[in-house]
Symmetry: C2
Amino acid sequence: MKVVIPFKFFNPKSRLSSILGEKDRKTLAILMLKDVIDVLKRCDCDVTVITPIHIDVDAKIKLDQRTLDDVVNEELKDVPKAVIMSDLPLLNEEVVNRFFETDGDVIIAPGRRCGTNMLLVRKKGFRVSYHYGSFLKHLKIARELSMDVKVFDSFLASVDIDDEGDLLELMIHGKGKRSEEFLRSLGFKVEFEKVPKLVR
Amino acid sequence: MKVVIPFKFFNPKSRLSSILGEKDRKTLAILMLKDVIDVLKRCDCDVTVITPIHIDVDAKIKLDQRTLDDVVNEELKDVPKAVIMSDLPLLNEEVVNRFFETDGDVIIAPGRRCGTNMLLVRKKGFRVSYHYGSFLKHLKIARELSMDVKVFDSFLASVDIDDEGDLLELMIHGKGKRSEEFLRSLGFKVEFEKVPKLVR
């Protein structure tokens, strides 16, 4: 499967700035990207990272400074293709293979807060619109094009790392991931005395 | 499949008290329970709700005032049995059937914040410990008993309705559910102008 991963290089993960400085946020973003690439490579995917400036990862690099929508719409001229976000460190081979095996013209794995975390398009003509409620927008776009659209049900694919609550999920479910080990190396851990929370 | 649903009748959903009064929280709790029962009935389950006082729903009622752990441990003397929480209104038949089809002695569908939202036990001897990080505790308990434990990956099963962010997920993904229609009747809707949020 051809997979593209759009990567936001500048000021990544800004909603984590209250608990992580910019350097650590950048390191975390790269390690999550590497976690995603590791899984996709083990699923025999042809992986391309689309980024505004060069980064050193085990995948093809395509330099592009346009917006997310422009970049992805260009990619979707060639289908089938999957678009997978770079901040999904909990993905594993089982989830990715189950996703690729789902029938339909357009498959969407939603994230919390109405996001589109993974997208698989098998038919030409679909166009993306990522910001603000993209999950419902993408359902609508597919239906307007009379495409067969499926919602892919996965907790692990739903956890995109955006805020502190998401980091908690990474610590709970991400054992052995590069990004989880990095957080541990910074002193983060989960405190279980009452409602689980992230402490450092 | 035999399924038990523990139901907390008194002061339900207290973390929603900033946006819903006690009467509405109680109504919402009952409607979510009914949403869960509807799905399980369509999956041909034998459903028992365990509650401290009688409630009027389309399932067997077992009155029990003991703690959640005591109630569930008693139930798990008879296996196979599933324990499904009452605040999972996004469940559908596909999720529930996929859950029941998962192999293993103990199957756990995690919720956010380390919860155990659905549990399926096929072997005697497993005991629950629900509070504070139950997902990891249940993995540990199963492994200590040398039971074959599986983590069930579902976004829809992961959304237990606990806080305002969870209500947002119910509004986005719960179209046609009794609980979602109730929230709409109260004037709640999702605003998509920027990051999706719940407004009323």
